[in-house]
Symmetry: C2
């Protein structure tokens, strides 16, 4: 392999070069700081080609991280289904647990948690990705209202409970939580999320 | 160093040998499976001496993990103070955040999370330690009632929110949560913990 001078000329070589450049840029500049333009520059292609291949920065991030889905799309679509139902909180818990525990996502999801805990740059990347993509999707679909700061705070509260649920169930495997069914957890945790999204709550200025 | 045949005869050599044996036994057998008897055997001392030096298995665990405190003692004492007050949930959040963010504990606490996420045996150890020591303390001091399974489930729900708060604030540093004050977080999350401890909730059989 050492004699090779670079990627092949074909499309898969180009897309591999883009993904490689994306991984480097996301790691060095975080999710927020990485730009399609810089990634294209690093890969030696036109930014339009990156847009053509991947569409959005998030979709490129998902491909670079080998996520089998674009999280905000799948989450958004799943949340849409139940957002007008009587138990939005339960619906969020059920949606998240079903996604995490799917065969395609479980290993990747655990890998993301692991890298965020062990690497500062991965933590930055995941934080910005959560803040821009996931929390934004939750806020938009569930129609949290308030100032931008309030919306971020409420969505972050939801995230804190859901991240803890993932840690307790998938990483630590606390028996009481690991042995519970998705429905049981949804009933227990749903009301918490509803209060965080729209209940009475003091929100920092 | 390689020519040495073992610990010195003095007390500090003996206590170092006990801690070394404890670290090995906790790692190999988990918190639950490790026994004072086996640790003493490994260290070549009488079990009574281990009890004399460390008192309880938890205190030995804390010393072996270089925790500057015995968690259930400090948590228990702090919770006692506020358990009859009007806002037990807020009190738990305030107590935990103040402990975690103290200069003595922060690095150790982050180290425990990191090791649990990256090592299966550390995860087992931490899970059993949480279940036996921390959740038990929460349940006892806050007087959660119900069957043993219900008490474990309610305490584990509290843990899921608190672990997620730690991840969001200390590891991922989500801005909305990292920038909030301890008091603000206590007011937001307190009611969640109260519902988990004593509110109406379906509990798995």
């Amino acid at each position: 392999m050492t004699g090779r001078t670079g990627r092949r000329a074909g499309e898969s070589g180009t897309s591999e070069a883009i993904l490689e450049a994306a991984r480097t840029q996301f790691a060095e500049h975080g999710y927020h700081g990485a730009t399609i333009r810089a990634i294209a520059g690093k890969a030696g292609v036109d930014p339009a080609l990156v847009h053509h291949f991947y569409g959005t920065k998030e979709a490129l991030f998902a491909a670079a991280m080998q996520l089998p889905i674009v999280p905000s799309q799948v989450l958004g679509a799943a949340l849409e289904v139940g957002r007008d139902g009587p138990a939005l909180g339960e619906h969020i818990v059920r949606t998240a647990l079903t996604l995490w525990e799917s065969d395609e996502l479980k290993a990747t999801f655990l890998g993301l948690i692991k890298s965020a805990v062990t690497s500062e740059s991965a933590a930055v990347m995941l934080r910005e990705f959560l803040a821009e993509s996931i929390l934004g999707t939750i806020a938009r679909v569930t129609r949290v209202s308030g100032s931008p700061a309030e919306v971020q705070y409420r969505a972050a509260m939801v995230a804190s409970q859901m991240i803890g649920l993932a840690m307790a169930r998938l990483v630590l495997k606390l028996p009481a939580i690991a042995d519970a069914s998705i429905d049981e957890l949804a009933r227990s945790i749903g009301p918490t999320l509803e209060r965080y999204l729209s209940g009475e709550m003091d929100v920092p200025d």
